[in-house]
Amino acid sequence: MEVVSNLVSFTLSKVFQLSGLDQNCNVLKTKRMEEKALEVYDVIRSIRDPEKPNTLEELEVVTEKCVEVQELGDEEYLIIIRFSPTVPHCSLATLIGLCLQVKLQRCLPFKHKLEIYISEGTHSTEEDINKQINDKERVAAAMENPNLREIVEQCVTEPDD
């Protein structure tokens, strides 16, 4: 009987230990994702709005909370950004999406896949805009248009670049 109860308490303590470890792992992982999200936010906060003389952060088009990071595998992360354009104008929202794509492609130091969306309920043609922003062929072709590229460059280039 004693042998059995010792075995039971031994097993139980092992189970508690393991679940404790698990909890620690999850806490560490969440912290790592938060750190990565901050790294991402640091890159996008200073992008200038195409129309106004303010940054996307100042206009609250992007906020820390709008960046979500998930682990995809070996040192690779999925970044999901949900931004809120200030005006309902379609082409400006697409332009902001383009700026986000370009700056992150250029400036993020770690391996990533990117998804950019307009935050739900902020725009009437959300689905159309989201589809365009996330079509890398459309993005690449847009960036070969000299006028569009000029506007994007002005929005993403840091003052000391």
Binding site: L72, K111, K113, K131, D135, K136, E137, R138, A140, A141, E144
Partner: protein, 331 residues
């Protein structure tokens, strides 16, 4: 011998830019690649290695998105974001720019040569598909402009044996076109994908069509059209491969020698599927035969089977690389 994909060679094809597409010449000895650096490169084997034999520059002002070989292997067509399609002729020491086809309003996304060698199809973000005729004097003339899609047309492909054309679009649909009195018309619209259809590939017989999409699935469509060839065509989806691909599937290639299906995916993987021989041909079943999870370290944009050497596969990626693989089947 174990079934699997093994790497033959990795080539740094288009340095500092994307490699968008690769295409084998009809006799399987040359590989053409094109990319964001606005060039086309021709690769051939010297001993055991693939090396760059020619660089075709100054043909386009923007990204070259796709290239296609004529059935005779003497011509190459290139589709570009600069809204033009270039026709190149093979010479003794390379290729010369023969002519430039203009007309599309914006980026040309694809060009394809009909098996007869007399017809060419192009498609564009301007939502149209153009069919061009070539005569004996190498003169090109547009014979039809078809506007069946409501959005950007991503890909066009010809049926392997009949004069039938298929197109894939950002509008989530596939259109099949047939000629009637010198006019090409859409005779079937294949609906089913829930996002952009990026590419298409007919099987060797042309009775089945594979499509791949941003919705992360591959669909297999079968021709149920009436034998008399009159009226509308009828294609139905007989199989959907889902759950295998982590992101957008940019390309699919059906091997006409072995029946194997290869896919190029935005999750950096190359996958090969094989049809289960025991399944009902009306309801085909495909299973994953091989995959390389990190075939490239960025999106795989294109995958294509060598038309003459069974099991030889080429892929290319956003990182400018081309990779050549050998798919070994179980013995």
């Amino acid at each position: 011998m174990k079934e699997g994909l093994s790497l033959v060679q990795r080539l740094s094809a288009h340095p500092d830019s994307r490699c968008w597409f690769v295409s084998w010449s009809p006799n399987g000895t040359l590989l053409a690649s094109c990319g964001g650096d606005k060039t086309i490169r021709i690769w051939s084997q010297e001993g055991d290695s693939w090396i760059c034999k020619s660089i075709l520059e100054d043909g386009h002002q923007r990204t070259v998105r796709k290239v296609a070989w004529s059935p005779c292997g003497n011509y190459l067509a290139s589709a570009s974001f600069d809204a033009t399609t270039c026709i190149w002729k093979k010479t003794n020491d390379g290729f010369e720019n023969l002519t430039v086809l203009e007309g599309h309003e914006n980026e040309v996304k694809c060009v394809a040569w009909a098996p007869s060698g007399n017809l060419l199809a192009t498609c564009s973000r301007d939502k149209s598909v153009w069919v061009w005729e070539v005569d004996e004097e190498d003169e090109y003339e547009c014979v039809t402009v078809v506007n069946s899609h409501t959005q950007d047309v991503k890909h066009v492909v010809w049926h392997p044996t009949q004069e039938l054309l298929a197109s894939a679009s950002y509008d989530n649909n596939i259109c099949i076109y047939k000629e009637d009195d010198d006019d090409w018309e859409c005779r079937a619209t294949l609906e089913g994908h829930t996002s952009t259809v990026w590419s298409l590939s007919f099987d060797g017989t042309g009775k089945k069509l594979a499509s791949c999409s941003d919705d992360r699935t591959v669909k297999i469509w079968k021709d149920f059209s009436p034998e008399d060839g009159q009226g509308d065509l009828s294609w139905k989806c007989v199989c959907t491969l889902s759950g295998y691909h982590g992101r957008t599937i940019y390309d699919v290639s059906w091997c006409h020698l072995t029946g194997a299906l290869a896919t190029a995916c935005g999750d950096d993987a190359v996958r090969v599927f094989k049809e289960d021989e025991t399944a009902d041909p009306e309801q085909p079943v495909f299973s994953l035969a091989a995959q390389v999870a990190k075939a490239h370290d960025q999106d795989v944009n294109c995958v294509t089977w060598n038309p003459k050497e069974a099991g030889l596969l080429a892929s290319c990626s956003d990182n400018g690389e081309i990779a050549i693989w050998r798919f070994q089947e179980e013995n």
